[in-house]
């Protein structure tokens, strides 16, 4: 995948999964955000399956970073599953 495309993937990932979430009664909530992500996967020809993710996961977990970072990574991981 070209660097330009990786930039777009990173942008999409941030936009759909991150940012301040308003916790108020008067907000239209979008519980379907993961569906949007699923649609986007179709748009990105090189997006791989969750099986690939499983393989890559071993390399992504920062096993020997400092304790705080490990904790943070775990939180992020839990949030994303």
């Amino acid at each position: 995948m070209k660097q330009h495309n990786i930039g777009i993937v990173e942008l999409i990932d941030r936009t759909l999964n991150k940012g301040v979430i308003l916790n108020a009664d008067l907000i239209i909530t979008v519980a379907d955000v993961p569906l949007l992500a699923a649609n986007l996967k179709l748009a990105l020809a090189s997006v791989e399956t969750m099986i690939k993710y499983g393989i890559m996961n071993d390399w992504l977990v920062p096993v020997s970073l400092d304790k705080e970072e490990n904790k943070m990574a775990k939180i992020i991981e839990l949030k994303n599953h």
Binding site: N17, V20, N23, L26, P34, L36, K41, V47
Partner: protein, 257 residues
Amino acid sequence: MNEALYVYGVVKFGFDLDWREAGIEGKNVYTISEDGFSALVHDCEEKPYMSEDPNKIKELIIAHNKVLDRAINYFDGVIPLHFNTIIKKGENTAQDNLKKWLSDNKDRLESIWHKVEGKKEYGIRIYFEKDRLIQEVSDDKEVKELEESRQGKNTGLNYLLQVKVKSKIDEIAQNRINQFKQRFYGDVKRITEYIKVNISRIFIDEEKDLLLSLSILGGKQQITKIKRILEQKVGKDFSFQLVGPFAPYSFVEDETA
């Protein structure tokens, strides 16, 4: 009739503005201000932006981010809101509801603004050449000694030693990777305190093996220094990509307001 407001992000109060046709689907973007902060909005219906067409979703996301990019340059920072944040009316108008939210969350917004002002987010992807690293580790003294110890052994013992060699190669390679991660992380952390490990929901097929994906937040000088570190660290076994800039999504995500 449009009764709701799509909110892109929040900036420290500057002045009222009107960005014509700058928003999603060419909507006019303007600010609603209260208690020192301004929300960047456009008028919309009370329903989220959705589509079955992935290209349309991509368009929506890019349009959302164009507004944030413009804001970050115009106001020297932006607090990005989650995509599809739409405020509807209740007993009061959507505008009044948004103003109340800005006012109620003034202290929290102040704290976030302090963190993101003058800064942009970048993604760093660190890759390693797995095959090359394994090859290099195979030349390690310990591995070579183990290899030599296999000579003249019977088949069973030879097999066990072969497994041991493989295990030693994996162990040494993993140690080198971990050392690299620790050193790199420490070097970056000395330049910016804002660094996070990304665990993306979107997985992509790349030619190289991804070792680590990070988000960093920093000003121009900090990013330049980090880029320099990346260039110094890159060797025959490791390489990197720096992508961005982005609005500081990763550094406001725990900030539910």
